[in-house]
């Protein structure tokens, strides 16, 4: 810091203005989409290098740190020059790319004087979980191998081997089927769903689209507004199974299935389904009493109105400090628990109203496994009996404030900080009494997302809010921004303290994870996601110091300074030899597209023929058979004296069968000029294109995971038999899946795995 400061003073004033302008420009760019991209492409690629990965094993090849020096000098510069100079500089920088480039060059030169940080190595540990948006993860404090992963669709994945294999459980909540009443008004309590939220939920999960024109389309793809829409949902069709759909949430704020509150705060809430049975609750209560069961504490009305298989988003999971198979999951439909390692889940706290039902946070007390803290949309609740019964905290605004995060001080767990929608709170007595320590008038700043505590000093903490980071070193008497303007107006979803280093913090924004080594004076980009996935959570490994875990919406990444498991033993050579025998990714894709009939080249060739079909005529042939047998007569009576008639004319016509036939040829030569199927649009194209993207995504996921697994297989040959068996099983699954999708490209590899030759031959 001091070195940077001195160097800063050595730069003349005009350079300062330009620098400041660049900083502000960078800030503006950071908070605005296209401008940021413009700058990154124009001039700052060396400043913000992305994490580079080896295409084969997914390892980080370069130091993950980015030497972004903007925040450090930013803070000093802003204080010295002030806003006006900064704004002038910003305008200059924006108006003149040359100036911006010059300033950035200076910054790069400045940054280059700092020593490079130690490289970090990233490995993906998400094996075999289904495609769903991941939300959170949690470690078992008592078992280093056990982890839980939560998702937005009710799935909770658990591993007992550090992520090599995952089991799958699903929290299920379903409204009762409709039995009689559409209620125009909101019920004060009871059913948790509203029609509008349910419909929105369906739309988000791709089950219901409003585009009638696509009524016949197949529901592939995950973009609710895309051309792959469909209107009617047929639940028996596998393609419509929610599990197969990859929910698409364009923003973090939309990550929840919107069936949480049912409060009707949004428009269109005109009907509530599945409420009913108000009279059923007393009857069930009486029945329970008769059976000598205790209905105490049960919300019978809710019990009667919920059941089944409706997915719900799982915001947080907390693992018991003493039993790795016991965990609690905070969901938008209450609190669930498992006692069997995530195989089955039961609802232990349905909430007393819709807001309380929406659980945002859950945590065991670090030293007392019977004490559970539950943050809901309507306040903080504490249980002292392991989650069987919850009491709302009293005497504080926290009793009704949306509570998103709790942070226990490592050396004194009775000191707890709470992050809420109305600021931050602190208790020094384990949650009995709370005091308000952070409140801002701006709602976005008041929206505290998480808290990072100094492991040594409980008065030194950093808050992440909807409007950047704030820090205090005196327990909350005085607050200042952390990172100066770097995070201003940006949602910082998480801030994380290093339990071993007071000044070492991480924070997580929309697309990146940032790191500081000086308690927030300077921040470096630690991980920048260049895919459509975005960071969801960051945690330190409680059992492996120095190892950081980053959860994105689709990946679980283990970041370690100690290198990868892929070391020595000739593993890389054997891996390369193995991969050389198999098809490349492109070849597998090509084979799969051809096998499934969605190869763009083949489809394009078919389309090209459309125009020339006009040369072939439509042929209409006709024929007919006609037969008739007419008869006619004419009688005249002109001589009455004779009293008789005279037949003067008779006519009888007989005909044979008449047969006729012919043909008409019709050329629609207008199609020679243009055929509507020639151009790649229209229903067929939409459908095929949607399938194309779906298959491509699936093949890529399978292929990459398989190669990563092969890297583990060859790089870690000494693994114990149990681990090897699990890995082999997963490898078999991935190979079989790829083989089926590609029409047999992996037949040889799969046979080798199934008959055991792969295992024998792959051993060193």
């Amino acid at each position: 810091m001091s070195n940077g400061h001195n160097r800063m003073q050595a730069i003349d004033v005009s350079e300062k203005v330009r620098l400041l302008g660049t900083f502000l420009a960078a800030y503006l760019i950071e908070s605005g989409g296209f401008l940021r991209r413009a700058l990154v492409h124009a001039s700052s690629a060396p400043v913000f290098p992305r994490v580079r990965r080896d295409p084969i094993v997914g390892e980080a090849l370069a130091p993950v740190c980015c030497r972004s020096s903007r925040a450090s000098r930013n803070g000093v510069g802003v204080r010295r020059v002030g806003w006006i100079g900064g704004m002038v500089g910003a305008l200059l920088a924006l108006a003149s790319p040359v100036h911006a480039q010059m300033s950035l060059d200076t910054l790069i030169a400045e940054a280059a004087k700092h020593p490079l940080k130690a490289p970090q190595h990233i490995t993906s540990r998400r094996f075999g979980t289904r495609a769903t948006t991941l939300l959170e993860f949690g470690f078992s404090p008592s078992d280093s191998e056990t982890m839980y992963l939560t998702s937005s669709t009710g799935f909770v994945f658990a591993t007992q081997d550090s992520g090599t294999s995952w089991t799958e459980g699903r929290l299920v909540v379903r409204r009762r089927s409709f039995f009689g009443a559409l209620r125009p008004a909101i019920a004060p309590s009871g059913a948790p769903f509203s029609a509008s939220n349910t419909i929105r939920s369906f739309q988000k999960r791709g089950m219901l689209r409003s585009n009638i024109g696509m009524a016949m389309g197949f529901p592939k793809g995950n973009d609710p507004g895309s051309s792959s829409s469909f209107f009617d949902y047929e639940g028996s069709e596998p393609v419509n199974w929610g599990a197969l759909q990859d929910p698409y949430f364009p923003t973090a704020g939309q990550s929840r299935v919107q069936d949480a509150t049912g409060t009707g705060g949004q428009s269109g809430d005109i009907a509530r389904l599945g409420v009913g049975l108000k009279t059923g609750a007393p009857r069930l209560g009486a029945l329970l009493k008769k059976k000598r069961k205790r209905p105490a504490g049960m919300n019978l009305q809710l019990l009667l109105s919920t059941k089944g298989v409706e997915p719900t988003s799982v915001s947080m999971v907390a693992v018991s400090p003493v039993n790795p198979k016991r965990a609690l999951a905070a969901t938008s439909m209450g609190l669930f628990d498992t006692n069997d390692g995530g195989y089955s889940w039961g609802n232990v706290f349905p909430g007393r109203n819709a807001r309380e039902r929406n659980c945002l946070f859950v945590s065991y007390h670090p030293t007392d496994p019977e004490k559970v803290f539950l943050g809901t949309q309507q306040g903080l609740l504490i249980s002292v009996d392991g989650g069987a019964k919850f009491d709302r905290v009293s005497g504080t605004q926290l009793s009704s404030a949306s509570t998103r995060w709790l942070e226990f001080h490592p050396s004194n767990p009775d000191i707890i900080y709470a992050a809420s929608g109305i600021g931050a709170f602190r208790t020094d007595d384990g949650g009995k009494n709370w005091r308000w320590i952070f409140f801002e008038t701006l709602p976005s700043q008041n929206n505290v997302r998480s808290i990072a505590l100094d492991p040594l000093d409980p008065d030194r903490l950093t808050l992440s809010t909807g409007d950047g980071l704030f820090r205090t070193s005196d327990g909350g008497r005085k607050w200042e921004r952390s990172g100066a303007f770097l995070f201003t107006s940006q949602m910082v979803n998480r801030v994380l303290a290093d339990p071993l280093n007071s000044n070492h913090l991480f924070c997580m924004t929309w697309r990146a994870v940032w790191e500081t080594h000086d308690w927030g004076n300077t921040w470096d980009a630690f991980y920048i996601n260049d895919s459509e996935w975005f960071p969801r959570a960051i945690r330190w490994d409680p059992h492996d110091p120095g190892v950081l875990w980053i959860l994105t919406s689709h990946e679980l990444l283990r970041v370690s300074p100690r290198g990868s498991e892929f070391v020595g033993g000739g593993g890389m050579e054997r891996l390369k030899a193995h991969l050389a025998k198999e098809r490349s990714f492109g070849q597998v894709l090509d084979a799969a597209f051809r096998h499934l009939g969605i190869h763009r080249g083949e489809l394009g060739a078919k389309r090209a023929r459309a125009r020339w079909s006009a040369l072939v005529p439509r042929l209409n042939g006709y024929f007919g058979i006609f037969d008739s047998n007419p008869f006619g007569e004419l009688n005249v009576n002109y001589a009455p004296q004779f009293g008789s008639q005279v037949q003067v004319l008779g006519r009888n016509v007989e005909s044979d069968l008449d047969v006729y036939y012919g043909a008409i040829l019709r050329w629609d030569l207008t199609h020679l000029m243009f055929h509507e199927e020639e151009a790649p649009f229209g229903r067929y194209f939409k459908v095929a294109n949607s399938s194309y993207f779906g298959v491509r995504s699936e093949i890529q996921r399978l292929y990459e995971e398989r190669v990563r697994l092969l890297a583990l297989w060859y790089g870690d040959p000494s693994a114990d038999p149990l681990l090897r068996t699990k890995r082999l099983l997963r490898l078999e699954e991935l190979t079989a899946h790829l083989d089926a999708l590609s029409g047999g490209v992996y037949a040889q590899s799969l046979n080798a795995i199934l008959d055991g030759t792969f295992e024998k031959e792959s051993r060193p």
Binding site: E633, Y638, E677, A688, R724, T725, A736
Partner: protein, 205 residues
């Protein structure tokens, strides 16, 4: 010299023993291995995938057949046949009142007839290009979904089986949970294969 040979022999023996021990450490005991091998008697993943595709009428042959039939359908005409039968009778009487003897004329016509008309229409341009061939491509989404789900279910079940063999549940509650899960996964695969999976398990013993 003899001492050196003896030393080399001892070292070779030592390496052999260590190697044997190492190999033992990297494999399962006989009983476990037998249980693991017994799983191989169950239907394979390819069988399950094929059964699922067949149950939903989208296996490779069925899809290829649809695609092929779509490309050749223009060879068959649209046939339209119509016909009719007519039975007609007309009688007309004309009286001439100008004369007392009232001459009259009667005229009659009758007859029957039938005709049959036919029309055949070949949409021959479809032999060159038929957009329905592209429509068959939409089945790729269904196929992909079925393969994904059937493969995933199969290996979730297999992992659970292996897990129960390698790390048997220590308590009854865990055992019951895992057995239930096994049943659930078997049922799910059954649902995807029209009950074929359970039948195949039974026939496999």
């Amino acid at each position: 010299m003899i001492g050196q040979q003896r030393m080399v022999g001892l070292m070779a023996l030592l390496l052999l023993v260590l190697g044997t021990l190492s190999a033992e450490a990297q494999s399962f005991d006989r009983q476990t291995q037998v249980k693991l091998d017994a799983l191989k008697a169950e239907p394979g993943v390819r069988d399950v995938q094929e059964a699922a595709l067949q149950y939903f009428s989208v296996n490779t042959e069925q899809v290829n057949s649809m695609r092929s039939r779509a490309s050749w359908k223009a060879m068959a005409p649209v046939v339209e046949v119509s016909g009719g039968f007519v039975d007609s009778s007309l009688n007309e009487t004309t009286d001439h009142y100008e004369y007392n003897f009232l001459p009259w004329v009667t005229r009659g016509a009758a007859g029957e007839g039938f005709d049959v008309r036919g029309k055949l229409a070949w949409n021959l341009p479809q032999l060159v290009f038929n957009a329905e061939e592209l429509d068959v491509a939409s089945l790729a989404g269904l196929v992909e979904g079925l393969l994904k789900e059937s493969t995933r279910l199969y290996y979730m079940r297999r992992r659970l089986q292996v897990d129960m063999i390698l790390t048997p549940p220590a308590d009854q509650a865990s055992l019951l949970t895992k057995q239930l899960r096994l049943e659930e996964l078997t049922g799910l695969i059954d649902a995807m294969t029209g009950g074929w999976f359970s039948q195949a398990l039974e026939s496999a013993g």
